[in-house]
Symmetry: C3
Subunit: 404 residues, 3 copies
């Protein structure tokens, strides 16, 4: 089977090269970008930094998978951003829409690519680069289609539609992951050491600090979005610590809980961050988000995943999926409270937001499942279970004997 | 004694939860924040980044205390910022003061929390999370009171009063630390490895790069503050290298010296950075700051600390305390030189600045001592000396056997 | 020989102190800086962050040289920036030129210092601190002279002349390195471990994310520069992965290839980033840059370096030199294509840009060679080949026995 991959490997670079060549040719046909921009460079930079650096190191918790976590993340993000821009261009062209300027287009593409990065977390260590790249292209296309349906048929504003990115990424990733063979439960490679966990903390803190940028980059009222996201994150961090101590046997902190729950507030508050009027609402959302994450983590690992035979390497279900669902619902509840005097508007608002939410999850699960099936055709499925979670299968180590 | 903590631990999360609930309830009563802001988001982001990420990794030099250094730092900062905002709101309400807008309030709260982060450095590895959290709340309150006295009775502008944060944090931390049992001098956990030192370098370089943001965020003439801080830091870095070589036995560099002295210039120049007219003055301050730090480090470790029975884990006395004192004095000297033609004004200026300095130090030492006494009541004192500096006492390690 | 260094070491700090004192005295004579600035603080901050933090960790790939890589990098950068500002001040004074304001001057000085940081990569682990500091001062002076000749006699705009920094740094470094004794090919210290490589990935990702800031900081059309640099970097990253797989024996990724090639697009597109009209041109440049880097890496290591007896520790020749050359030539080609209707202007344009390119390389090689000769006088040459690539020769390790 290993030789299977070796034969296969000879085609890998040609596949990527072909993809990149197609991208370059397609960019030939894209319209000129204006140099005026409605997004500031630091705002784009923050999002770019989060996706490349923050998520790259967020995923380094596996003890033997640091190179792949950071390296493949870079590869996927740059391909995803290019692909996302081309799909957006195509949609703009087909629908004769107004076109965003340069920087705004890259920023939106980078935010969309977050879906892929999150999905990667579910198949981390199990998918080979070709599978990851195929997944990237397919997921980006379907995420754009889902956003387009939301925008066109349900009149969801784009800044809200974009926030479905966490939920879409998580459920797409879970559906893909359900088609992969499960790793052996005794696999000693599917674990972290304190060194790799500390590198992962580096990524977590990075994401934590920059999350207000993520929520505000496309928001209309940026200052409110930043302010509310900060408070949601702050309470999330505190709640993560509390619940981590409460759920462990002898009252210790557990790093994996904190990794999942510390960002939950930011994900949850994403939908409504620009419209929440008082910080205490954001704080309560942060508290609930963190609680649902730790609870979800407990349930997923003990009941749900074994029952559904889903292996979710970095726990994207409870890290991004559940807080996303909570955020979408909380957004509807907040809208209901705000518009309760205007019943007809209230009904239609609630309906379309719940509709958008259901649609996004359904599209994610369905297309994820199909993608998972395709990726596990014999053609692509080359990584045996024994080679899961291992850098050495993909990377050359001239220094193997020394200090690994 | 360990079982003592286990019993105690069951109450830890409820304590934090109670505190967080109180914070949320108090935020219910805080006035609405305007969305207009006088501080730019990147400026706030830089300070936030420094405190969460920079200081988090700055403190990872202990070889077995990386999780606690970064994790507890996050917990303390988010609680400290919320507490600081509430105290500020209360003072605004009581004194019928004008209220800052949202972002500026978080930024000021983050800068105030630096005091707590610095104090943490003195008791790093010795205080348990509950002690740290209690210390956070108490210190934030007293720092605000000290600033308020300075502002109201001595007419110190708030941007200067805020710069006492390093000095206050250092001396409060030292006073608290003096009440903790000293670790065994042969403790092998109270040491760094080259790996943990390298992670600490990451934090140092981060803080070094962002220090101009810290000094300029509340300054009136931001560009001058940035310019002068950069030069003071540059000369500090050079001087740290020089003196490190001069003070070691065989002329080698010592990382702990560089860790302490490289930031000294930034701390010292903080008070006067917006008013220094020529870069060479900032450069000389940087040189003196670095020199006083290395000298202070030599004296503290050999004479002062053993005599006073104070154990200062990350050397906050010479890293932040002494450069802060030097900066406060240098600020007075610069004011004297500037106003020497106007004798009456000169006298009163010198008097109030020296008064503010003495007051801040006294409040820090006194309240720190009391806090230290309270924290070492039998109720809270649960970490035995043998469990100092050890992540395993607070964190679950499912991967204990592997590669720790 | 080791005692040779010990004797020598006693003079090291005095040398640096003397240098720093000279700098401070010279700053006494520099004119006042205006507080108005034409460069924003975040732009300066990004470049500063890249040089101190990004390059510092970029160079940590050697397994026993992490302290020196990051520590000496900081020392060199701060000395280089001060030296560069003084040389610029002197030139401004001698030529009665208009003077930039404060922040712009530090920014330009930081960009110039990149040349030194790149050169350091070539002699990494072989040069001692004194050699590095001397090299810094000499290289900064010659780089300014080269830029001044380009600007005065060839009318090259300063934003283009500044982009020669990569090429100048690389060839200066190579020339210096050719005068150092080669390390033993079996030296086990001249290698990386997966841990040190992962820290280096941290630096690489940092540089990758911030490279658009570097190319845009002095550009006239900042948004175009950012946009084009992003695409060149994206395609570079993809191409680096492709070619890395193609050139290894069994189709695996190689981290050292990715380290060299991932930034190549940013270096190459630097000259023309503000004037490229369509992103696909930047993408093709990124592809070519990455290809030339991997090809260059293959040729250098196998043919060129052994023949010329040059040892290039971090491969600056193909990482920064070749992409720089490609960029300079591509810039000329793009100018030719743009101006092909205006033949006389075309001829003169091509001539001066090719002239500037040849001049810069010649100055770099010649002055580098001379510097290399001087640095290897018996006076300075104190590091024996057996002590190459070793932190322990320069740093005190109190924790030697534990976990190194």
């Amino acid at each position: 089977m290993s030789s299977n991959y070796r034969n296969f490997r000879n085609n890998v670079p040609w596949l990527i090269l072909f993809l990149e060549a197609v991208f370059i040719v397609l960019f030939l046909f894209s319209k000129d970008y204006s140099s005026r921009t409605s997004i500031s460079y630091p705002a784009f930079q923050d999002v770019n930094h989060m996706v490349i650096f923050g998520f790259g190191f967020f995923l380094t918790f596996l003890k033997r998978y640091g190179f792949s976590s950071t390296g493949f993340n870079l590869l996927i993000v740059v391909l995803g951003v290019q692909c996302s821009m081309l799909v957006e261009n195509l949609l703009d062209f087909l629908l004769q829409r107004y076109m965003d300027c340069g920087l705004k287009r890259i920023t939106k593409a980078t935010v969309s690519t977050t879906a892929v990065v999150i999905s990667t977390g579910a198949v981390l260590g199990k998918a080979n680069p070709v599978q990851l790249i195929l997944m990237t292209v397919v997921e980006i296309i379907f995420f754009h289609i889902s956003r387009w349906i939301n925008h066109t048929f349900l009149q969801i504003p784009d800044s809200i539609g974009m926030m479905h990115v966490h939920m879409f990424g998580a459920y797409f990733g879970l559906a893909v992951s359900s088609r992969f063979s499960e790793p052996s439960p005794r696999s000693e490679k599917n674990a972290s050491t304190s060194k790799s966990d500390l590198l992962s903390v580096l990524g977590i803190l990075f994401l934590w600090v920059f999350w207000p940028s993520f929520n505000s980059v496309l928001a209309t009222d940026k200052h409110k979005a930043i302010y509310n996201t900060y408070f949601a994150l702050a309470v999330s961090a505190v709640t993560a610590c509390i619940l981590s101590v409460l759920t462990t046997k002898d009252g210790k902190f557990r790093m994996s809980d904190i990794r999942s729950a510390v960002l939950a507030g930011g994900v949850t508050v994403g939908y409504a961050s620009h419209s929440i009027k008082y910080p205490w609402i954001a704080m309560i959302l942060g508290l609930l988000a963190s609680a649902i994450t730790i609870l979800g983590s407990y349930c997923s690992q003990r009941c749900l995943n074994p029952a559904l035979k889903i292996h979710d390497t970095s726990g994207v279900h409870y890290t991004f999926g559940l807080p996303g669902v909570l955020g979408a619902l909380a957004h509807v509840v907040l809208l209901v409270i705000e518009n309760w005097t205007n019943l007809p508007r209230l009904g239609s608002l609630a309906l379309i937001y719940v509709g958008a939410f259901c649609l996004t999850i359904s599209v994610a699960l369905l297309t994820g499942l199909i993608t998972g099936l395709i990726l596990n055709l014999k053609l692509f499925k080359t990584t045996t279970v024994s080679k899961y979670f291992d850098d050495q299968f993909y990377w050359e180590f001239p220094h193997l004997a020394v200090g690994f």
